[in-house]
């Protein structure tokens, strides 16, 4: 699996328009929601303080004023009910987009996601779909402490039926969010908090960026770094640094974590013969493990050194910022892993 993307979704998707502008990640998401709400009558937004207030991070700003309280719906502090409502509504053809304020709170609605959203299509023999999107703010780096900083993709990695989307830049964030809204599968849409203020060129108008397809964020010939979300800009920084040392690094932005685009990454590693996988979550049982295993298994003879794994330490996220920096990986750790991998293959 993972490699064939059958676009079974009949929802309309414009060609990606031309004129890009520097837009923030937050604004790109806001635009996507606005365009989606405009296009899909069945779409509605639901979450805590997303209406008049516009959400804790401002992603739903102004949409309540434009689309009204029926379609931009505040809820009580009831995460299970929020996601339950989405699953039920999706089962009858609505396209709910939930905001779970912090990804750490997905524990409250874990059952609804894993046992309900991810399974209704399968266990009821295709009679239901669950076209819902769960947007949530994840990741650390701002002193949020153990319950406002976690990278949660590992919680859902082993769950068939769930799509996990994880953009690294504003243009992808917009296109991936619209693709997620169009998707007939339930999507966990991860928004790294450290990226909300990132700015880049974002095309105007409606477009989708395909789910399940990685992007080559930078081409190179000596080593492939596979990264997601905040680790992508970090990997690019490390790549620049290594360029100066004469190492040509290719950076793959996975974009969709589940199911992931093995084809693109294996092709890259087959070419470079070396790989480093970079994630913010703890090492054991994280996305890095899956990617490392897959690369080793499928590029065994092409690899000239074992795949390097860059991850968070095996600890919760402490409140103290210096301690948090110790726990989370950064550009330096990626650069170090690249050097070690180059070294090991000489």
């Amino acid at each position: 699996m993972n490699d064939t993307q059958l676009d079974a979704n009949p929802a309309p998707s414009d060609a990606r328009p031309k004129k890009p502008r520097k837009t923030s990640f937050t604004k790109a998401l806001n635009d996507a929601l606005d365009l989606g709400m405009d296009r899909f009558d069945e779409m509605f937004l639901i979450g805590e303080d997303i209406a008049e207030m516009g959400g804790d991070f401002g992603v739903t700003r102004k949409l309540w004023a434009k689309y009204g309280a029926e379609r931009v719906r505040d809820t009580p502090l009831s995460e299970a009910a929020i996601i339950g409502t989405c699953v039920g509504a999706a089962m009858v053809g609505m396209r709910p987009v939930a905001e779970i304020m912090f990804a750490d709170f997905l524990g409250e609605c874990y059952d609804q996601i894993v046992n309900n959203a991810a399974k209704v299509r399968y266990m009821f023999d295709g009679q239901f779909s669950a076209p819902l999107v769960i947007r949530t703010a994840c990741g650390g780096g701002f002193g949020g402490g153990p319950h406002h900083s976690q990278s949660v993709e590992g919680w859902f990695l082993n769950v068939p039926g769930i799509v996990i989307v994880a953009p690294s830049n504003p243009a992808d964030a917009k296109g991936l969010l619209l693709a997620s809204i169009e998707s007939d599968d339930p999507v966990l849409f991860l928004e790294h908090k450290a990226l909300y203020r990132a700015r880049s060129d974002v095309p105007d108008g409606y477009y989708t960026t395909p789910l399940g397809k990685a992007a080559v964020a930078r081409t190179g010939t000596d080593l492939t770094v596979v990264a997601t979300m905040r680790m992508v800009p970090m990997a690019l920084t490390a790549a620049e640094e290594l360029e100066a040392e004469g190492v040509s690094v290719e950076v793959i932005d996975l974009r969709t974590i589940r199911p992931y685009d093995a084809e693109t990454l294996l092709e890259s590693v087959a070419k470079t013969g070396r790989a480093v996988v970079a994630n913010e979550a703890p090492k054991i049982g994280g996305l890095g493990a899956e990617l490392s295993a897959r690369i080793h298994e499928e590029c065994f003879s092409e690899l000239s050194a074992p795949v390097g794994r860059v991850d968070g330490l095996d600890a919760p996220i402490p409140f103290s910022v210096p301690l948090e920096h110790e726990v989370l990986p950064d550009e330096t750790d990626i650069a170090t892993a690249i050097r070690a991998t180059m070294e090991a293959s000489r």
């Binding site: 059958l6 009580p76 039920g88 609505m94 239901f128 399940g212």
Partner: protein, 325 residues
């Protein structure tokens, strides 16, 4: 209640009983995979629901609702045997054998499927109700929930959200006195579940769930309230299940005797019908007809082929194929 209507309900109760008895016999012979929870003893509650819910409504059945599921299938599509086939894990089942007893659904008859994680659909039902409300449909979204299931926190989240959003949710609480082996009064602050529901400010009523007339009327009233756009409604059926726990009977003898002999919903209805001049032969004929029908359904289920193995990886995702071995 009109004699004819009562006879219909009586017929439905016999369908449920025959279904469950036939199924139980097959299960004991090892012909039915998985686990089995039956609705024996709760026929009046289920028949009352089945007779008031339309195909355009949406109900989430609990784990004892084979009868309700079969009635919905039978009334609206004429293919009740597909519930039986599902329990036998056959390709002709409503979910092609992938769901089984705890996950039989057919939305075209209003059956949105059980969720074997007890109580989880207490919040799912909100979304179905919300969609109906947003679209201006007159759909009633019904959650059938056992007394034990009320222990889940989602009970509170659901009732609260249904209340603040005035959603068309019908909570049909089947209080059969026990959660597995735990008496309702030991598992909850009150043995009357309505006591836990009243704080949310919408109507909460109780009814003798073995009295088919009272149950039918109570359901009709609840659904009428909801269809009139007046928001959620909570109805507690006081009933009792024949099935004990797998280790056998554990309930007081007098209690067992009361419910099985003195307060059996079918025997109670027998009396009512005889009072109205229906003769005993006619009643016996109904019983036999339903047993015969169920025998056919069982035969159908047994003869049906198992699902094709390609189904093992079908419908995981809408947009991607999942590989096999």
């Amino acid at each position: 209640m009109e004699r004819e209507q009562l006879l219909d309900l009586y017929r439905d109760m016999w369908l449920i009983r025959a279904f469950e008895q036939g199924l139980e016999a097959e299960f004991e012979q090892g012909n039915v995979p998985g686990m089995l929870h039956t609705g024996l003893g709760q026929e009046a509650t289920q028949a009352a629901l089945a007779n008031n819910l339309k195909a355009s409504d949406a109900f989430f059945p609990d784990h004892r609702c084979h009868g309700l599921n079969a009635l919905a299938q039978q009334r609206h599509k004429g293919d009740g045997e597909r519930i039986m086939a599902e329990l036998f894990a056959k390709s002709t089942g409503v979910c092609g054998g992938k769901g089984g007893s705890l996950h039989s659904a057919d939305p075209s008859v209003g059956n949105f499927g059980d969720n074997a994680v007890e109580g989880s659909y207490l919040v799912t039902v909100l979304g179905v109700a919300l969609a109906a409300k947003m679209r201006g449909e007159s759909r009633v979204a019904c959650a059938v929930l056992g007394d034990g299931t009320v222990g889940r926190g989602e009970f509170h989240e659901s009732l609260n959200m249904a209340a603040i959003w005035d959603l068309p949710v019908f909570y049909a609480c089947v209080n059969n006195g026990y959660a597995i082996a735990t008496p309702v009064g030991e598992g909850h602050a009150s043995a009357d579940i309505v006591d836990l529901a009243r704080g949310y400010g919408f109507p909460c009523e109780q009814v003798d769930g073995n009295d088919i007339v009272a149950s039918h009327d109570a359901v009709a009233k609840a659904i009428g309230h909801i269809r009139a756009g007046k928001g959620p409604y909570f109805l507690e059926f006081k009933t009792w299940r024949w099935q004990g726990i797998f280790a056998g009977e554990f309930r007081p003898e007098a209690e067992v005797k009361y419910w099985r002999e003195d307060h059996d919903p079918i025997l109670m209805t027998d009396e009512l019908l005889i009072d109205r001049g229906v003769d005993a032969d006619e009643l016996a004929a109904i019983e036999q007809q339903q047993h015969a029908l169920i025998a056919e359904w069982i035969a159908f289920a047994k003869e049906s082929p198992p699902p094709d193995l390609v189904k093992a990886t079908a419908d995981v995702y809408a947009q991607w194929e999942v590989g096999g071995r």
